[in-house]
């Protein structure tokens, strides 16, 4: 069981050795199960599309969890900071699988279509930009990067709010009509970003001499 250490007003949840890795494996389970089904033709008449959307949905779910860590500490006094990096990496893992499925299984590597997607279709461009930004965040998620970048690291990783907004719009555009699922997740992502605005504004003010 994880230990809970009191630190000032907060309860800091500290994972035991290996726990974070077990969470990572559990987090990948939805992808593994659906991949197994799909390989056996048990995902229905349009398996690639189902798998693609499933991976996108789970990327959004882990993004919501990642962005919930701070509000949970500020509003409820429980800090899950020690888990946040792995949650963020799960977002990236699902984004990779989502994009990989689109490129390889769905478009079967058709470069012409992929270039057109980015140059002509805002829906896919939004997703692509979010994916590039996520890659940048994942690449700089190591302890070494944090030490190396110092104060800049925090500023760089605020890009995740941009990712959240891009993903929210991309998700809304993925359907032909408005629907409860995408509106629900987009609203949650929007609120999680909005909640941070006053704090971000204050940080900005502080920098003004």
């Amino acid at each position: 069981m994880p230990r809970i250490i009191r630190s000032g007003r907060n309860h800091v949840v500290v994972p035991w050795r290996g726990e974070v890795w077990i969470i990572a494996l559990l987090g990948l389970l939805p992808a593994a199960v659906y991949f197994w089904y799909g390989a056996q033709d048990r995902l229905g008449p349009d398996p690639v599309n189902v798998f693609e959307r499933w991976l996108g949905l789970w990327a959004v779910r882990f993004l919501v969890l990642t962005l919930l860590v701070t509000p949970l500490r500020v509003l409820a006094g429980y800090s899950l900071l020690r888990y946040r990096r792995m949650l963020g990496l799960l977002v990236f893992a699902y984004a990779c699988l989502h994009v990989g499925t689109y490129v390889i299984l769905d478009q079967q590597g058709n470069l012409g279509v992929l270039v057109q997607d980015i140059t002509h279709r805002p829906f896919l461009l939004l997703g692509f930009v979010a994916f590039v930004l996520l890659s940048l965040l994942a690449a700089t998620s190591t302890n070494w990067s944090m030490r190396r970048l110092g104060r800049q690291w925090g500023r760089l990783h605020r890009l995740v709010y941009g990712v959240a907004l891009l993903v929210a719009v991309h998700f809304l555009m993925a359907f032909k009509t408005y629907n409860a699922t995408s509106i629900g997740y987009a609203a949650i992502l929007g609120m999680l970003v909005l909640w941070r605005v006053p704090d971000l504004w204050r940080k900005r003010m502080r920098r003004v001499p």
Partner: protein, 317 residues
């Protein structure tokens, strides 16, 4: 033309095959799970056989398996998910049904659908079906040429378009009850008169030789194989000949994505995805290789291209 005379009991009276099959299985003491039983009942009139003869324009591709044709449907009246129509259409009553032919015609008439079926030459047409969402099926429809019905009504000289209207029954169609995520009802569609009179255009009342299952648009739907699937309006109650281009549901919802013509065209992309190729439904799992190039007019150019001669299909999409 050889007329096919319809057997005595009207289709609505015939016990659906799934029901008598289910009964027989129960009598035999076979293990019928509750789920299978429920699924059998979901397709109401489905199972009543149709006596049709093979018609022209048979596609050469292998037909999509029946379970895929009946469990992968866009029919927003029953919900947004592809599996919703099969799941939520059990309560829908496709009989009795009337189909009204009206507007700019010499002989308007309200048809009882079973009488109409009995009086029309029934044909099987194996058609490719290309959805605007870039997937495709090959479906053996049973039905009759729309031109037959229109000719009997005698369109007047000023009739230039045909508008179609679908049924509104919120009590039987859960998708019509939800507010936020819905289209505006009734679903409406339209064709130019020459498109409606084209020999390829049919009203389907069955598929795979049996009455249309509820989820596929029972009891009567439009099939226009060179256009994207959403033109194939389902559960039609009204056909109206008009002078001006009628509104169409998806065009109203998003005019830059769905045009009035909606001809299958690999050169004109949807704003959100490429139309140059399509996922083949029922190709079998991830590695079934289920993607193929989309053909201009879905491969029916020989029959329809002349109708659009001189038109810019980029602007008239």
């Amino acid at each position: 033309m050889a007329r096919w005379s319809y057997p005595r009991p009207s289709p609505g009276e015939i016990t659906p095959r799934s029901v008598w099959l289910g009964r027989r299985q129960m009598l035999a003491g076979a293990a019928v799970t509750a789920a299978e039983w429920g699924a059998g009942r979901a397709s109401h009139a489905y199972g009543a056989g149709l006596h049709t003869r093979p018609g022209p324009f048979q596609a050469t591709e292998k037909p999509t398996p029946l379970t895929d044709v009946t469990h992968y449907n866009n029919f927003y009246e029953f919900g947004l998910d592809k599996s919703d129509p099969a799941t939520y259409s059990a309560a829908f009553q496709p009989r009795p049904w009337t189909l009204s032919v009206e507007g700019l015609v010499a002989h308007p008439r309200v048809w009882d659908l079973d009488q109409l079926i009995a009086s029309m030459p029934m044909e099987e047409r194996l058609y490719r079906m290309r959805c605007v969402e870039a997937w495709s099926m090959v479906i053996p429809w049973d039905g009759f040429a729309l031109s037959e019905l229109l000719r009997q009504a005698e369109p007047l000289g000023n009739a230039r378009y045909v508008s179609f209207e679908s049924v509104v029954r919120p009590d039987q169609m859960p998708g019509q009850r939800s507010g936020l995520d819905s289209l505006s009802w009734p679903y409406v569609e339209g064709l130019r008169l020459d498109e409606a009179m084209n020999p390829l255009t049919i009203l389907a009342v069955g598929l795979y030789g049996e009455m249309l299952p509820n989820q596929n648009g029972a009891p009567v739907r439009l099939v226009v194989p060179w256009k994207y699937g959403f033109k194939g309006i389902k559960s039609i109650t009204r056909i109206r000949l008009v002078a001006d281009m009628p509104p169409t549901t998806w065009n109203r919802m998003s005019p830059d994505e769905y045009g009035f013509y909606a001809n299958v065209n690999p050169e004109v992309d949807h704003p959100r995805w490429s139309q140059s190729s399509e996922r083949v439904i029922g190709a079998g799992g991830f590695f079934g290789g289920g993607r193929k190039k989309t053909l201009m007019f879905n491969g029916y150019g020989e029959q329809v291209a002349s109708m659009y001669a001189g038109m810019d299909l980029r602007t008239s999409y």
